[in-house]
Subunit: 322 residues, 2 copies
Amino acid sequence: MNRILVIGAAGMIGRKLLQKLAQGGSLSGSRIAHATLHDVVAPQPPPGAPFQVRSVASDLSLEGEADKLVAERPGVIFHLAAVVSGEAEADFEKGYRVNLDGTRQLFEAIRRVGAGYKPRVVFTSSIAVFGAPFPGAIGDEFLSAPLTSYGTQKAMAELLLSDYTRRGFFDGIGIRLPTVCVRPGKPNRAASGFFSGIIREPLNGQEAVLPVSEDVRHWHASPRAAVGFLLHAAALAGERIGPRRNLTMPGLSVTIAEQIAALRRVAGDAPARLIRREPDPAIMRIVKGWPQNFDAQRAHELGFRADASFEEIIKIYIEEEL
Amino acid sequence: MNRILVIGAAGMIGRKLLQKLAQGGSLSGSRIAHATLHDVVAPQPPPGAPFQVRSVASDLSLEGEADKLVAERPGVIFHLAAVVSGEAEADFEKGYRVNLDGTRQLFEAIRRVGAGYKPRVVFTSSIAVFGAPFPGAIGDEFLSAPLTSYGTQKAMAELLLSDYTRRGFFDGIGIRLPTVCVRPGKPNRAASGFFSGIIREPLNGQEAVLPVSEDVRHWHASPRAAVGFLLHAAALAGERIGPRRNLTMPGLSVTIAEQIAALRRVAGDAPARLIRREPDPAIMRIVKGWPQNFDAQRAHELGFRADASFEEIIKIYIEEEL
C-alpha cells in the first residue's frame, strides 16, 4: 500500500503508532508513500517521517467529512478515534455521535467509494464491550454485555465492522485493547486513569490517588504492545481471521498490589510511598463491572503478543517517557 | 397502564398480539384504555377491541415521526417492526435504515420525552444475532456474531436497548424470537420461510418446496407462543431481568424430518407428499450459519414457556387459520 489514513492520530496511541511508522517507513512490508492524519485537532506530523504527511482536522460524525478522507483511497485505515469512557458516560449524546455515528460515517464513506476499493480497516475496540458477571477468564465466545455507553458504542461498531467486512465493503479487523498502561502525560477522562496514575505520578515525584482497593485485578498492555497489535493487525491476512472480525488482544492480568510490587522492584520504595489511598465509591462501582482476566486464544493463535511482565510495562514507560 | 403503542402492528405477530389484547382488554393486569397501532401501512384495528384504537402509518426512521408516537406517553411500547432477513440482505441501506435507525429514532424519542417518563419497551429481537460455529446448545452467555445484516441490526438494537435501560431512559426487554412457525398467509421475504411453507402449503392442498436437506435442525415457536412471550415480557418486573436485557426465548429444536413426521401424525400421509425436494445452494449456505438449538435458561427461570411439541405447533396453525 502507498497511502495510509490514521483517524485519531493526535491521541496517545496514534502518536506512538506514527512515530513507529516514521522510523521504519513501511507497513506490512510495503513502503508508505503518504499518510493522512486526522483528528478533531490537526495532528502533529511525526518527526523525520520518510513519507508525505497531511494533517486534517474535522468532525468525522458530520455528513461528508469521512468521504473527503477516503477519497484518496488509502490502502490501510487505522480508526483509533473515540470519546473515552468517562466522557461518553458524562455526555450521552457526544459519545454516540463520535463513537457510533463517526465510525459508521467512516464505514459508509468507504462503502460509497465502491469500484473494488477494499482497504484494510484496523479498528481499536476495547475490553469495555464486556460487562460483569464474568467467568474466571473471558474466552473468545463470551457475550458482549457492556455496562457503559462507551462499551456499548464499541460493541455496536464491532458488529458493523464484521458486517461491512462480510459484505465485502472493506477488510476489517477490530482489536479489543486491554487498558493501556502506563499512559504518558496528563490523566484523560477515562475512569481507568488511576491504573496508569499510580505508576506515572510517583515516577515523576508526584502524589497519585488510588481510588480502589489493592485486590482489584485488571487487564493491561503497554503503549508499545498496543502499537504492536495495530501493526500486526494491519498485516494479517484476512482469510486467517474468519468471519468473526473482532479479537480480544492478549494482555497481563495483575492486581493493584502486583502493580505496586512491580513499581518497588523497578524503582525502589520511595515512589510507592507517593500513592495515597482514597477510596472513591463511584469509581469502585464502575471498576467492579470491568473484566479482570481473559483467555485471548484466537489472538494468540494469530500471532498477537502481550508484554512479558508488569515490570516490563513500567520499564517501557521509563524508557520512552523519562 | 392506560395507553399502549404497537409498532409493526400490521405484521403477523402484531395482528395476533392485538387480537389477544382485544379479547382480554388488559395487559399486565391493567385495563387498556387506548392503543396506537403503527406501521408503514395503517394497521387494521382488531375487531371488538374494548379500548380506543388509533392507526398511524409513517416511516419511523424519519426524524420526528417517533416523537409523534411517544408524545402520548404510552406505558407499554411493543416494537415489532423490521425489514426481514432476506430483504435486509438484498437491500443493505433499507435494512439499516429501518432496523437500526428506526429503532434508534424510537429510543431517542422516548429519551427526549424525559420528565420521568419511563415506559416498558418490549423489543422483538431474533436468534439471527447468533452465527456459526455454535456449541451443541447455545447458552445465555454465548456471543452475538451474526452472519447477516439483519442479525447485525438486531444485535446492535439489543445493545442500544440495554444501554438506554441502564441509563434509565426506559425499562426495556429484548426477546429473541425463535423462527415463528407455522406462519399463516403468503411467504414473506425471510430466508427461513420454507420452515413454515412445508407445513402450511400441504395443509392447504398446495405443493411446497423444501430447499434444504431433512437433517437440517432449527429452533421454532408458534405464533401463539410468540404472543405469549410478548405479553409475559410486558408484565415482567424490571428488577428480575437485571442489566442483561436481551433474552433468548425458549423454543423447540426439531429437524425437517421431525417436522414432516409431525405433519404425518397430525394430518396423515397425503399432505407430506406435496413437499417437493429442490435443494437451493444459496438457501443451504444461509441456513448453515443458523442456530439449531439453545439452552434458554434465563428465559425459563423468568417464566417464558415454549410450545410442548411440533404437533402442537401444527395444531395451533390448523385451529387458528384453517
